[in-house]
Symmetry: C2
Subunit: 400 residues, 2 copies
């Protein structure tokens, strides 16, 4: 078994936590000063572990092992959601550093913008598998402030750098360690999750057009209230989706924007961010069909017009059985009976890398299931156990 220095691993995690610190979490949106500082910090660490670090034209960092193969690719992402947790993404990258420090022949990567601050979605990992055209980069903007991606890349000093393209023949596979972002492990009293597959997220924008009017002068019968039409549609989704969803499906309304959004004005326009997730395409398709039927029904019933805009429709990814097997053996060896197989409800870079090479993921518990929030946390003994299992699994795969 490789000697993983778990003290150095935890020290790395805390060092990275200091970059862009926000309360007990971090604020490192993609290409912000804090994010670029974290990428430079990572390149220094990779070099210190004997890897050759480089940053590419979208900000993805790859540390390359100089020795002979076989190799594994290990990593995740390093930017964070706004004012979010210290482990999401960072954990998988720093775990890669720990494996490299132990002398394992791994390349370590931090894919850019897994968190989707820009509207490409999974920019780094999709670019690295050859799935992002230049035109998509030209058209992309920051979802929060509208900054063009090209401008953000230039401001971060990345303009003109070549984009990384992963060579699948170099690797036996890709391993991504991550926090669970849920309470399944904690609730079951388990310390490790072997991921079986990654759900696909189908993301939608629902746009409802009504008529902006004064809230006093316009009778209820006369109104074309886009906000009320949105509320009724979302209530109908809430009723209908439990009848068509899968066992582990989720659906989420993340934002409801009423225009103009003032107390005495009937909203003339409503825009809803809606998404659903599942590992099975037939379930996803059933949910889409239900959503479309509810929108048709809304347009029959309401004096407002609703339309559905598809923002993204990813493909679910299944994890590689051999990689899962190695993770399972390592988990059982180091923590007998303390693990379970489970799907990932969140999207991860691994789902993209899985399209060109075998990929698998290892989960550690999230305290209270909290994630995408600065209070996100995992117990240090679980972090240390996770990286030791990851190292043991990597050793098996490289020896096999």
């Amino acid at each position: 078994m490789p000697e993983i220095d778990t003290d150095a691993f935890l020290r790395d995690l805390h060092d990275l936590r200091a970059i862009g610190r926000f309360r007990t979490g971090v604020h490192r949106p993609t290409y912000s000063a804090q994010d670029m500082e974290a990428r430079r910090w990572l390149m220094d660490r990779l070099a210190a572990c004997g890897l050759a670090p480089a940053i590419d034209g979208v900000g993805t960092v790859l540390g390359r092992h100089g020795g002979p193969g076989p190799h594994l690719l290990v990593g995740s992402h390093i930017e964070s959601q706004n004012e979010a947790g210290w482990l999401d993404g960072a954990l998988g990258v720093v775990a890669g550093v720990a494996l490299a420090r132990a002398g394992l022949p791994v390349d370590v990567c931090a894919f850019a913008d897994e968190e989707g601050h820009f509207d490409v979605g999974f920019l780094g990992s999709r670019s690295a598998i050859g799935d992002v055209a230049e035109a998509e980069i030209d058209a992309s903007r920051n979802r929060t402030d509208g900054t063009p991606l090209r401008d953000a890349l230039a401001a971060a000093g990345l303009e003109g750098l070549p984009r990384l393209r992963l060579a699948p023949e170099r690797y036996r596979g890709f391993l991504e360690m991550h926090i669970e972002q849920g309470t399944q492990l904690e609730g079951a009293g388990l310390r490790l999750g072997i991921v079986t597959g990654i759900v696909a997220i189908w993301q939608w924008r629902i746009v409802i057009e009504g008529q902006q009017d004064h809230a006093g002068g316009t009778t209820m019968a006369e109104r074309r209230d886009a906000g009320l039409a949105a509320v009724r549609l979302l209530a109908a989704i809430d009723e209908a989706f439990p009848r068509v969803c899968g066992e582990r499906s989720t659906w989420t309304t993340g934002r409801i924007a009423l225009d103009p959004g003032a107390p005495s004005i009937i909203p003339g326009r409503a825009e809803v961010m809606f998404q659903f997730r599942d590992v099975a395409v037939p379930v996803l398709e059933r949910m889409e069909a239900t959503l479309r039927a509810l929108i048709r029904e809304s347009n029959r019933r309401e004096r407002c017009t609703a339309r559905l805009v598809a923002v993204s429709r990813a493909t679910p990814a299944l994890c590689d059985p051999a990689l899962m097997g190695a993770l399972t053996e390592a988990a059982e060896a180091l923590c007998p009976g303390g693990w379970q197989a489970m799907p990932s409800g969140a999207g991860h870079d691994a789902q993209n890398v899985a399209r060109i090479m075998p990929a698998a993921m290892l989960f550690v518990p999230s305290v209270g299931g909290i994630s995408h929030h600065w209070a996100e946390d995992t117990r240090e003994e679980d972090l240390a156990l996770g990286v030791r299992v990851l190292g043991a699994a990597a050793e098996r795969l490289l020896a096999g």
Copy 2:
């Protein structure tokens, strides 16, 4: 009958429309550069009509007639909602100028911030009847950007000026001409509305606390989704309110803010701006009781906690019978059969002035009922008819 110069009146309206022009409407938020320019423009006009203009410590402009009484007070407000119409408020003020120009012994007023850019609510007219304490001004902020009212007053050069206090014994009453902001007149083919009373607006903030979480890692059963709880509550209001409301009641959700408002994060907090309106206090009280019962029911059923914050609870105002009578006689004389009596669904400064002197309002039609939007408009012949009826009614009241 007084000679109202309707050409000069329409010219004034168009001159004022040019200040802060936005498309075919105006953008003159309270104490903005455009708003202060409009107030200076008004003072020049008042002086040109022989009145003595002054601006007070909250920006209310009063032009005082120098001759002997009896007097009437005529006016409205001059700032606008954001990117809104050219007539809302401006019409009643410019109508006052027209009456003064015709030699009628009127004082003309433009009350500050009827539109409620600051959270005092009806700052100018409430201050002028002695209803606003200094502490309320100290605590008030701009609803959009949070600027303290004191800072805005200082920036507008109003700091330290005394506040106007209306002397009710000086006036036979207050007349406010206004656009209808609805389609009752247009729909009935009528050109004038004699307002019988002004609805009260009861404005609420509904705050729902849940748990912010990752939209993938948290199962539907585990979630405490504040946004979904808000949707269910608003759908319940939509079902229940028609059973308890009055014939002309309205209720409106103007804004739904989900925090943090990102596509892949379960909202941990929702904040809803909700209001209802009626002319009858028992109806308002019935709607409040229903709202409170629905919130209790939500708190029994949901895993989130909803609470109700009262933002403002105004008192409905009835118009003065003698003033209404004079407006009715003038309307019937100048446009036989072309008017109706009707309540005002919107709040107006007249509801505050009515607490210290007789008050009444005259409505002219809104094209398509559009209001609080830059497309707001009224036909010029209806504007001209309205100001002639106002002048004729004023003459009757001053002679009586």
